[in-house]
Amino acid sequence: MRIRPLQLHNVDRRHQASEQARLYRHTAHHSPFAELSYSITELQRALGENARDETFWAPLLREWKRFRYLASVLPLPFNSPILWSDEAKTLCGRKLKVVRQVASSIEAETAEKIDQALNELRQSGDSPLRDLLGNCLGEQGPGESAILLQDSRHLQLVSSSLCEVVGTSATVLSPVQLKASNNFDRLFLIGPSKWYQLPLLAAPRADELHVLQYDWLSDTNKTTPVFDGVRETGFKGKEFQLVRGIHRRERLLEDEEMLPAQDWHSILRAAARKSEDDFDEVEAKLYLLEDSHGVFFEEDSSVLALDIEIGDLERLAVHELERGMYLALRTEGGGDYMIELADLILGKVHPQARELQKVWKTRLREIIRRRGLTAVGQALTKRGAIRSSPQNVRNWASSKLIRPESDNDFKAILFYTNLRDESQRYLDAARAIDSAHRKAARRIRRRLISEVRKADFTQLELKGRLDFELPGSEGGKLTLFRIRDVSPEAINVASWQVGKPLLLEERRSWLG
């Protein structure tokens, strides 16, 4: 099933909202939280480059900033465990001990003050944003209201908390859900509107947009034209109207100080595993996926992906992947899916063919270990190889590559590894494996396309992931994951990690 088109009258509502929506701002103030927030920023500024020191400052700041950010975007009380976990408390306690010993007295004193203020807040049942939301919802007339949160992981918690305490029946949704929804009468945003990085002011999905935020946070106050520096583009701006609280113009904390950023260094270090086999290391980028997953891909490889805007599953070069696209990855069934299926296709000959493959690769690796890649490359050239650069020699030894593309290169390896007398057997085995892998790839793709065509893309858009059970001999689970981000740099990872979804620790995605 493809994405269902909206009815024209619902589309018209989106246009009407874009033309006529009213923008309201409601601000809350909570002095202890405001002071804590300022203190964190002031300490970070004072520390300068030292703030990146992973031995103590960076982890401390990361946890404090996480608390500050979450408390600014979730309508939950300060003592909610999701804002400040026991794990965070233990980690900060440990790091503070180090701070007391090694940091300057002023910095250590500030850190102690922050820790103390944070502990006091943690005991507090105050919930300024929830109170503000409760008041707003209580004053609304009939019609459908929705509350937008930045992260879908918090939907259930916030929804039940609001239902219990505020007694609201408003829909709580994530940006992805909002994108796929029909328009609401009122939409409440928790936190500054620009933090959502959505066209909420220019193209709101509601007749009224209400921003609920702390008064010490900066935000955009009016809409801006889409096309820069061009007059007469049909642009008519809209401005926020302050309904509650004050419109502070000084001591505002800016986005770069408040918003989480991907700590790629930390994420990559945690995700990459050391390879036991030096020859199986490859250079790959990490793709962050929905639902706290990630996957490594080599840049010159290709992957089965779904572009939901285009509406089909296709094999794309990895460098063409973008945020918002969907990757098809095996998430259940164990082992390398392609190899399993290729072995099934090979039938009875698969143990022997695999064994022969293992023999020549093991011998080649052993020689490389003793002599080095360059020397082996030169030796292979003398024996008739035509492309034996050190990198190619490394690839040929890797278990990811079935065989060299050229028969000359392969024969040179068999000659060099003393397998020349049986070279035809080795060539035949490699050819059979190669052919089986190609057939397996085509079969997987056909099966997956057939399953995906039956799927409800609306669900995929809402959740960011969708699982498919593959029946029959190809059994197992494949999952379409939405790409959230891509690491700017590639790193060396074990080749077995490539293409396999990894569960990532959410805590790493913060810069201290």
Binding site: Q7, L8, H15, K179, G234, I310, E314
Partner: protein, 333 residues
């Protein structure tokens, strides 16, 4: 049938087409309502772009709160612009230009037959078109005044069969008669590629097929869908004739008939970013949905073209878009 078969279509193409399009209605939960202003704007805009001189190419980008139905209504505008009826004099001139044996299409009832032109002849002070539709049997005579039943056949030669039942005319509805300017038969019979839509085809097709529209005349309400007027080649049955537009996926390989299309409608940022280089000499309408992930990239790429433009276009600023739509236009080098 209303006062004039093609009145609404003609008016839809006039400067005041916005007023005429008021007669197009769509379904809301409480009944039928006039087509929203943004839909009428898109029809007008596409018509203007389609009618612009081919050189230099005109490029228009629209930033929309959603691109749903935008490509559909732009296609309607482009198709209607290229479907203006011809006058009786022009039609007679065409008939007179035919040589004996030239292929023609003849409407008889709800069917189309292929025929071979013979001559224009005069009997009792009236001009007749003479032609045959079968190998055996006599020739047919049609008075020239009703010769709109005879239209060009898109073939170089014609071989007449022994007997001919003709092909059923697909899609000649009262909705189409009201909407299309000029002769609806000509519209249905003649293929003409007014635009190519680069889009997610299944969704585009659903928009064309699923939304019911109507035109109200003194005869009552004539209902139909946009698919009847847009006549997208790949959505029609293989035997159908008279396509008016085509839809392709952004990654499609294009045949030569598509690369020379006069107007390309890019339905979304990714369609634009992926496929615009295929049509350097065509007019473009680029539909950028503010909620698309690649929206900013689409805007940036279009603005790059704007910076390198040949000139500003003279006609777009008078279109007065609704405030939900921002646009930028330029004439390309």
């Amino acid at each position: 049938m209303g006062p004039s078969q093609s009145a609404l279509g003609e008016r839809l193409l006039s400067e005041d087409s916005g007023d005429a399009a008021d007669q197009l209605k769509y379904q809301v939960p409480t009944g039928w309502a006039p087509l929203p202003e943004w839909c009428r704007f898109l029809v007008r805009l596409a018509e203007k772009v389609a009618n612009s001189p081919a050189v230099p190419p005109l490029r228009v980008a629209l930033a929309l709160p959603t691109r749903s139905y935008a490509a559909a209504f732009c296609t309607v505008g482009a198709v209607l612009a290229s479907s203006k009826g011809i006058t009786s004099e022009e039609h007679l001139a065409w008939l007179k230009s035919l040589k004996p044996g030239d292929p023609i299409a003849v409407r008889e009832g709800g069917r189309i037959k292929r025929g071979a032109f013979e001559e224009i002849t005069e009997q009792n002070d009236e001009l007749y078109v003479s032609f045959r539709v079968q190998r055996q049997g006599g020739r047919h005579l049609y008075p020239v005044r009703s010769a709109f039943h005879i239209q060009p056949l898109e073939r170089k030669t014609v071989e007449l069969p022994k007997h001919q039942r003709g092909t059923k005319i697909e899609g000649l509805s009262s909705f189409l008669r009201e909407l299309v300017p000029g002769n609806p038969l000509r519209f249905l019979q003649r293929s003409e590629l007014s635009c190519v839509v680069v889009t997610q085809k299944s969704l585009f097709r659903s928009e064309l097929e699923n939304e019911c529209l109507a035109i109200e005349t003194s005869d009552g309400l004539h209902t139909g869908t946009l698919t009847e007027v847009t006549r997208v080649r790949s959505f029609m049955s293989s035997r159908a004739i008279g396509f008016r537009s085509e839809a392709v996926a952004p990654a499609s390989e294009l045949d030569s008939t598509l690369t020379t299309a006069p107007l390309i409608i890019f339905d979304g940022s990714r369609a634009f970013l992926k496929a615009s280089s295929n049509w350097p000499r065509s007019h473009w309408i680029v539909l950028l949905d503010s909620w698309d992930i690649a929206f900013a990239d689409g805007v940036a790429q279009f603005q790059q073209g704007y910076i390198q433009r040949e000139a500003d276009p003279p006609l777009i600023s008078s279109l007065n878009p609704p405030s939900s739509i921002q646009f930028l236009a330029y004439l390309a080098r």
